[in-house]
């Protein structure tokens, strides 16, 4: 057992820090130009614009430790915004199951941040039970295209997306995991209507997407017809490990401590309040443990082993910790957390506290509700067999 970073790792960390510093956004700079330049320069570093892509597709081919260092550094650095859908979710599917033509057609635009993607998975009747999806894709008589009809919901950023990757049903005769087909199509076309959903945080990021007789050429199908579930399952695993956000929580907790120390409480501050301090401490203990759970998971991945049982708890623990940080931020804001919109008084952080907290309630719902995650762990990790009695 050894937790020291090697000299190579330390050198890598310095290199990452230096890169972030050199390319930080400077006040007054054109934001879009900076963003595109940043990615171009990251690309010159040897695939730093697509850290998670494998080497053969232009990624940096880092060790898990290097990935971990990158995550840690990105949590404090101010990186240009990026959407995960094309880069982190569709790209791995294309790499594993797409044809050479499809890879050549879609991956470059994803890498260049030219095309925004959204994910057409959940449906009004298929949430936790995603395989129960009903959006129908029928092959045309001449076999050249599918005609898609149905409704997708909770589609993040559908209102700005250029393309969608979409799970559709091509066969409902067998068990529901079969007969699902993975299709790609442009969002700006006839038959697609996007309706915003306003969430409790007061913001608009998710949508309902109505699909009416949308024509999708067969060459936009990934892999085999009816095998979409197999491709999507791997993708969900990707999504789930990415949701733990441990490095970000470590940074957020330090910020919360600073914020609480700025709130007067009698002759001292809220950080001196035993109840609040106790909650922060409890949170920190959990976060320390979760950080090492993630490290253990990374270490076994580094050794080339299958993810150990510990990696299954990362999304559960990670999202719960994020929610607790948001909750304590609301508590720290005291009465000022109740204001909405104009904020004439009170600490600045209270301004978005409640919105952030309300939004965080979705963390234990999306990407597999916590209750469903626990079912999966009971079945796959603990291998509890259900009696059929």
């Amino acid at each position: 057992m050894d937790i020291e970073l090697s000299n190579e790792d330390l050198e890598f960390r310095n290199e990452v820090r230096a890169f972030f510093e050199e390319n930080a956004y400077k006040n007054g700079e054109d934001f879009n130009k900076w963003r595109m330049d940043w990615f171009a320069k990251a690309r010159e570093k040897g695939g730093w614009d697509v850290p998670k892509w494998p080497k053969e597709f232009g990624g940096p081919g880092w060790t898990p430790t290097q990935h971990y260092i990158w995550e840690q550094e990105t949590a404090t650095a101010n990186l240009p915004w990026d959407l995960p859908f094309g880069l982190g979710m569709l790209a791995p599917v294309l790499m594993a199951h797409g044809s050479k033509e499809q890879q050549d057609r879609f991956l470059p635009d994803i890498r260049d941040r030219k095309v925004n993607w959204c994910q057409g998975y959940s449906e009004p009747g298929a949430g936790s039970d995603l395989a129960g999806l009903k959006t129908k894709a029928e092959l045309s008589a001449d076999g050249t295209h599918y005609v898609v009809n149905g409704t997708k919901i909770w589609t993040t950023m559908a209102h700005i997306a250029d393309w969608i990757f979409c799970l559709t049903r091509t066969d409902d005769s067998g068990i529901k995991q079969q007969g699902i087909t993975f299709l790609l199509f442009p969002m700006k076309q006839e038959g697609i209507e996007v309706k915003p959903i306003i969430t409790l945080g007061g913001s608009h990021s998710v949508n309902t997407v109505f699909l009416t007789d949308v024509k999708v050429p067969v060459e936009n199908r990934i892999g085999e017809e009816g095998q979409g579930w197999t491709y999507a399952k791997g993708l969900l695993q990707h999504e789930r490990t990415g949701l733990a956000g441990i490095s970000r929580s470590l940074v957020a907790l330090e910020k919360l401590k600073e914020q609480a120390a700025s709130v007067p409480r009698g002759n001292a501050t809220l950080m001196d309040d035993p109840a609040f301090r106790g909650k922060i401490a409890e949170l920190e203990v959990d976060l320390w443990a979760t950080e090492y759970t993630e490290l253990r998971s990374l270490a076994s991945a580094a050794a080339g082993a299958a993810p150990g049982p510990e990696s299954s708890i990362l999304k559960l623990k990670g999202t719960e910790i994020q929610q607790r940080i948001q909750k304590l931020t609301v508590e720290a804001g005291g009465i000022y957390s109740a204001s909405w919109g104009a904020k004439p008084a009170g600490p600045a952080f209270a301004k978005n506290g409640m919105g952030g907290y309300m939004s965080s309630r979705a963390y234990t719902i999306y990407g597999g509700a916590s209750e469903v995650q626990k079912d999966v762990i009971a079945k796959n990790v603990l291998q509890i067999k259900r009696s059929s009695k």
Partner: protein
């Protein structure tokens, strides 16, 4: 011993329940919340005509002589619809201070209007540095000539934008956190030097930040004894906590029942969600917490009516702690069990959850009152 409502209280409960049913469908509430004022003048008129605004005032003051139990009965029903009209701010808070401390002249000038709804009140007690301490007051009222000059700033004043009078706590002597030396004043929000910044709160109600810049007050603006305002403020805040807790109990009932109903309708994995034992147990816990809140609400309300002050005070601390804690537990789980739908503005649960969060932040949160209870 008996926990039954009297015949009059039963009628009052039915009447408020009917009002909520008729006027507080989610769509209608959403419209009110989005309006400039944030509540309906018509509803306010109806509430006044039904006599509810006079309930907690003595018959000598032109009211119906009700006590905290009557307010509880009304607020619990209002909590089921999250009523936006300022019963709480004007009657429980502003009215609570007036009925305890006003002299005959002040009562005659103000209470008839408060009770018929033509006047509205607000209570300005919170300050930036004070967090939840009512006795931490830096706003000052300096004696000058026959009257006073008011300077300072008050935060998160509910219903100030539509109030005709605002009751303000100010320091007339002593140090910043002394209980003695605080006095209450009746202030005209339109007076020179009073500046309001109005904004909506997370739960859709309205509040204001108010600054006072050399506001001239007459001698008869003083409400109650000079330097003796804290006792009135504290007693009024305790009534406020009881009322908020009653509203919360009404909201909690909606949250757990909506969740039970939704999980029986919503099918996933070829079963209604309610078939899953883990969700059944969660809902049983929500129900248990709701019942416990209701019990403590009865206990604290009855001790406030019948018990000695110290016992009543400790009960109020216990109640506000449990309401805050259980409110968040039930709210979070109601959203969780509704899944993505619980995250939207389209269903009731999110709105009720927000109200519970705001209730926890008012007059001291769960932690604050647990520490007071333990002290």
């Amino acid at each position: 011993m008996n926990f039954d409502l009297s015949e009059e209280q039963q009628m009052l409960q039915d009447s408020v329940a009917r009002f909520v049913q008729d006027n507080y469908e989610l769509d209608k509430r959403t419209e009110l919340v989005a309006s400039k004022q944030g509540f309906s003048d018509d509803n306010w008129k109806t509430i006044a005509e039904l006599g509810w605004l006079g309930m907690p005032f003595s018959e000598a003051d032109g009211g119906f002589g009700g006590n905290q139990v009557d307010t509880m009965v009304m607020m619990e029903q209002m909590g089921k619809g999250l009523v936006c009209e300022p019963f709480f701010a004007s009657i429980v808070l502003g009215g609570g201070a007036l009925k305890r401390a006003a002299n005959a002249e002040q009562k005659a000038a103000l209470l008839p209007g408060v009770i018929d709804g033509s006047r509205q009140l607000a209570l300005a007690y919170a300050e930036l540095q004070a967090r939840f301490d009512l006795h931490d007051v830096t706003t000052t009222a300096r004696a000058e000539g026959d009257g006073y000059v008011l300077n300072g700033h008050k935060s998160m004043v509910l219903n100030a934008a539509t109030a005709t009078e605002i009751v303000v706590s100010a320091r007339t002597s002593g140090g910043q956190i002394d209980e003695s030396g605080i006095s209450l004043f009746i202030v005209d929000p339109k007076a020179d030097g009073v500046k309001l910044e109005n904004f909506p709160t997370v739960d859709g109600l309205r509040a204001s930040e108010i600054s006072f810049d050399n506001v001239a007050l007459t001698a008869n603006s003083l409400l109650g004894e000079l330097d003796g305002g804290f006792a009135v403020l504290n007693a009024t805040a305790n009534d406020g906590i009881l009322a908020l807790a009653a509203e919360a109990v009404g909201a909690l009932e909606v949250l757990y029942k909506d969740t039970v109903a939704y999980t029986q309708e919503r099918e996933q994995f070829d079963h209604p969600l309610s078939d899953f034992q883990v969700l059944q147990h969660r809902m049983v816990e929500m129900f248990m917490e709701y019942e416990q809140c209701k019990s403590l609400l009865y206990r604290a309300t009855l001790e406030s009516v019948q018990g000695d002050d110290a016992t009543a005070q400790r009960n109020v601390h216990a109640l506000k702690h449990l309401i805050g804690k259980a409110g968040i537990f039930i709210g979070e789980n109601a959203v969780q069990l509704h899944g993505g739908m619980g995250m939207t503005e389209e269903l009731r649960v999110g709105h009720y959850f927000k109200r519970l969060l705001v209730i926890d932040s008012q007059f001291g949160n769960a932690d604050f009152h647990l520490q007071k209870f333990a002290a």
